[in-house]
């Protein structure tokens, strides 16, 4: 009886430790899921979270695309013309994403650039989106 109770006790403790491990796994998985669920761009402005090199590259890409559309519409709205618009957007798109990310996070650009060049990621489609939205809004708001 004693032996049985001892073995049952040890079995219970093993079960407990197993359940603790599985609970820890579950919480890890939950945390990972939560991290994935929170928006990437939201994490860029949250210094308490971490950005992997892939996240940083994806964030730089999407910041440039949004910037392209927004700046294009604003330039069209204020009826800005000439190459000043193109050059100012180019400078902004080149510098803003990396500057924004380095304000909120400590980024190792050498490590990130092993995956892809963060300085130019998405620059070409962003330029196209910028010229497109600028042309369309300029045409619509033309006096």
């Amino acid at each position: 009886m004693v032996l049985r109770s001892r073995s049952s006790k040890s079995a219970k403790t093993q079960v407990k430790s197993n359940s603790k491990e599985s609970n820890a796994d579950k919480t890890d998985q939950q945390q990972q899921l939560q991290q994935k669920a929170t928006y990437l761009l939201q994490r860029v402005f949250d210094s308490t979270t971490t950005l992997t090199p892939e996240d940083a590259i994806a964030a730089a890409h999407w910041i440039r695309q949004i910037l392209g559309i927004v700046v294009g519409i604003v330039y069209g709205l204020i009826q800005l013309t000439g190459f000043t618009g193109i050059m100012s957007f180019f400078t902004l798109a080149l510098m803003l994403p990396t500057t924004l990310m380095s304000i909120f996070h400590e980024l190792d650009f050498d490590e990130i650039n092993k995956h892809n060049n963060i300085q130019t990621e998405g620059l070409f489609p962003a330029m196209a989106l910028f010229v497109l939205s600028w042309t369309l809004s300029y045409t619509v708001f033309l006096r």
Partner: protein, 189 residues
């Protein structure tokens, strides 16, 4: 020019967006959802991770040769895996390329000779060939359908697959990595 005059440009943007979404749906059905493609993508991701791990390893002088050999073997495997993945994608890429050519013909038939927008800048000569194609006169601020179509192709068509999460994993065998590896090899020799 007013909104009513510029509706052509908006219609072209809409056509390209819808066509790209349909093309991605087709690609999903023909390629992205197939077991072979999913397996090929997983293989590339796995090999990328393995290669990164090997790259980070610090080895003693005696083990350096075997380490280099294992990296070479992994690189060769990764090259083959990404070639297989690209090969699977090729069929749908050709089909989509042809359908977009057809779409361009259709848009051209409808909008050639029409001013669809007014440019806020004077384009340089090379771009003028595209932005003023099929138009008459010498007001180079006028924009033809070709320019808007090209901008849509560059801006919208390249972003939609990324937005939908349909981009295939990139192999880490990029030129900067190869150059760094070559340098390391020269250093050890």
């Amino acid at each position: 020019m007013t909104l009513a005059d510029a509706y052509g440009a908006f219609v072209i943007v809409g056509i390209v967006t819808v066509a790209t979404l349909l093309a991605e749906l087709l690609s999903y059905l023909l390629v992205y959802s197939t077991k072979d493609y999913v397996r090929a993508c997983d293989r590339v991701r796995e090999l990328n991770k393995k290669l990164e791990k090997e790259d980070r390893k610090v080895v003693s002088v005696e083990k350096r040769k075997s380490h280099e050999k294992s990296i070479d073997r992994l690189e060769e495997e990764l090259k083959q895996a990404s070639q297989k993945m690209d090969g699977l994608k090729m069929r749908s890429s050709v089909l989509i390329g042809l359908s977009f050519l057809l779409l361009y013909r259709m848009v051209a038939a409808a909008w050639t000779g029409h001013v669809v927008a007014r440019l806020p800048f004077l384009p340089i000569k090379i771009i003028q060939a595209l932005s003023f194609r099929g138009l008459q006169g010498n007001d180079y601020y006028q924009c033809s359908f070709g320019f808007i179509y090209t901008l849509c192709t560059m801006g919208i068509k390249s972003n939609i697959p990324k937005l939908l999460g349909f981009t295939s994993p990139k192999s880490i065998l990029n030129p900067s990595r190869m150059a760094a590896r070559q340098q390391r090899k020269v250093g050890t020799d």
